[in-house]
């Protein structure tokens, strides 16, 4: 028992998919528990905070943290885990690159709340969740939200990044043994290849006269989706997933974030798309026509940064426009 590694799992603001992904390695979980003792995993086991608090510093060998940082509680907990763990792995895209909830960074917290509690189906009595509440029997406290959604490394040091929404069994088959044997560099688990490089569909980098919504374009199964004029994030996305989405005829939506060494996935996609967008013989096109082509890329911000806005250069919406 004692020579086993001690590992833990924890989630912050997450969807739960990362936890499920650990179960999706099926039988391999039995190999993992052979080598490692799971000492902390609130999802599948009864959790105990005091166990963690009582631990010596660095007592746990590896802690896997998934989810983004969205509340002070997330922040506090990961600080404690950092202290107790030799190695912290940012597990999944939320924790390593900010993740999909990072789209919330396009709005203020007030806007998010105001809208969420004033939907067509809510009682419009002006009641909104508050941090501090008096109920007839006493006080109830709700934790406040952080100013914006953050990746894990904005609040603690991260030793290894393992993006993926969620990381897939083929990634984990490599990652777990490597992590358990201790030979993984910080960015080793992020592929230098793009999804295009591993995609079963062949990309010719054809000129694309304009983009179409997927529902308006009948796709040929064997052809590159982007070449056919439907947005695919493959060129700007890291390919450790082996491209399961284009394999089933669906565009890559960019969930792994940028390839190793690239910081800003959205800018990279704008670059890739800018190069192929436009008709052959476009020299004769005027600026208005080109603007139209660009407009066919609907919602570039939300589409290119769907999973990585919090780790882009700009990170969250600024107030430069309304002064």
């Amino acid at each position: 028992m004692s020579d086993k590694l001690k590992i833990g799992f924890y989630w912050c603001a997450a969807c739960g998919g990362c936890e499920i992904s650990v179960l999706d390695i099926d039988d391999m979980i039995l190999d993992v528990v052979e080598k490692a003792e799971i000492v902390f995993w609130p999802c599948a086991m009864d959790p105990k905070y005091e166990d963690v608090e009582k631990m010596d510093d660095g007592e746990m060998d590896i802690v896997f943290v998934n989810g983004s940082i969205r509340s002070d509680e997330n922040h506090e907990m990961v600080k404690l885990l950092r202290q107790k763990a030799k190695k912290v792995v940012a597990y999944g895209s939320c924790s390593s690159i900010g993740g999909l909830f990072g789209l919330g960074n396009l709005y203020d917290n007030d806007e998010l709340m105001e809208y969420g509690y004033n939907t067509p189906s809510t009682d419009k009595d002006g009641v909104m969740p508050l941090d501090d509440n008096m109920v007839p029997e006493g006080d109830l406290h709700l934790p406040g939200l952080t100013h914006h959604v953050r990746p894990l490394d904005e609040v603690i040091d991260v030793d290894v990044y393992l993006p993926g929404c969620p990381p897939l069994p083929n990634q984990l088959e490599e990652a777990f043994p490597a992590l358990l044997s201790g030979e993984v560099g910080k960015y080793d688990l992020i592929s230098q290849k793009s999804v295009c490089d591993v995609c079963p569909l062949e990309r010719e980098e054809k000129k694309i006269p304009r983009l179409y919504p997927i529902q308006e374009k009948k796709l040929e199964a064997e052809e590159c989706i982007l070449d056919q004029g439907v947005l695919c994030m493959g060129p700007a996305t890291s390919g450790m997933c082996d491209g399961p989405c284009p394999e089933v005829g669906h565009p890559c939506i960019g969930c792994n974030g940028p390839v190793r060494g690239v910081k800003d996935q959205g800018a990279r996609m704008a670059s890739a798309l800018g190069s192929v967008l436009g008709a052959e013989g476009e020299e004769r096109m005027d600026e208005d026509e080109i603007s139209e082509v660009v407009k066919s890329v609907r919602d570039p911000t939300g589409s290119f940064y769907r999973f990585s806005l919090p780790t882009s250069y700009l990170r969250y919406k600024r107030r430069d426009l309304h002064e």
Partner: protein
């Protein structure tokens, strides 16, 4: 809200084949333009990637100006068209992220247009001065 003491920092990417020459000519002709601009020479405007633009803002630029050959004149045939489309996408992305897209500008300047070069630099500087500083570094807790 122009800030009187504010001197904008502006990154200007200059295409080697045209606007860089325009800049030279402006110098030879002793055209006056502000010293707020920091020029970076590139082989073609299409060498300027959206990442360079985002990074410039992130690193403290208040404005970014990209200059290239006039349509049809790009030495790499369609480089400037690519640039034009990339700038279109990036402008929209900047706007969505609450950054005034006027901080990013694209201009076609040939090597014969020394006067235009100086004028664009003056305009851009005034425009950014008017917009005020862009401080992305502020940390929010």
């Amino acid at each position: 809200m122009a800030d009187n003491g504010f001197e904008p920092k502006i990154i200007v990417f200059l295409c080697n084949w045209c606007s860089y020459g325009g800049g030279d000519l402006a110098g030879v002709n002793r055209e006056q333009y502000p010293t707020n601009v920091l020029g970076i020479k590139v082989m073609c405007s299409s060498r300027v990637s959206p990442e360079h633009i985002m990074e410039s803002f992130n690193d403290g630029a208040d404005g970014v100006l990209i200059t290239g050959c006039h349509p049809g004149d790009c030495h790499y045939i369609d480089g400037n068209y690519k640039t034009f489309r990339k700038i279109g996408l990036i402008s929209k992305m900047l706007e969505d992220l609450g950054i005034n897209p006027k901080r990013l500008r694209l201009e076609w300047i040939s090597s014969a247009e020394g006067g235009k070069f100086a004028q664009v630099m003056r305009e851009m500087t005034e425009q950014i001065r008017g917009l005020g500083p862009l401080d992305l570094k502020e940390e929010v807790e």
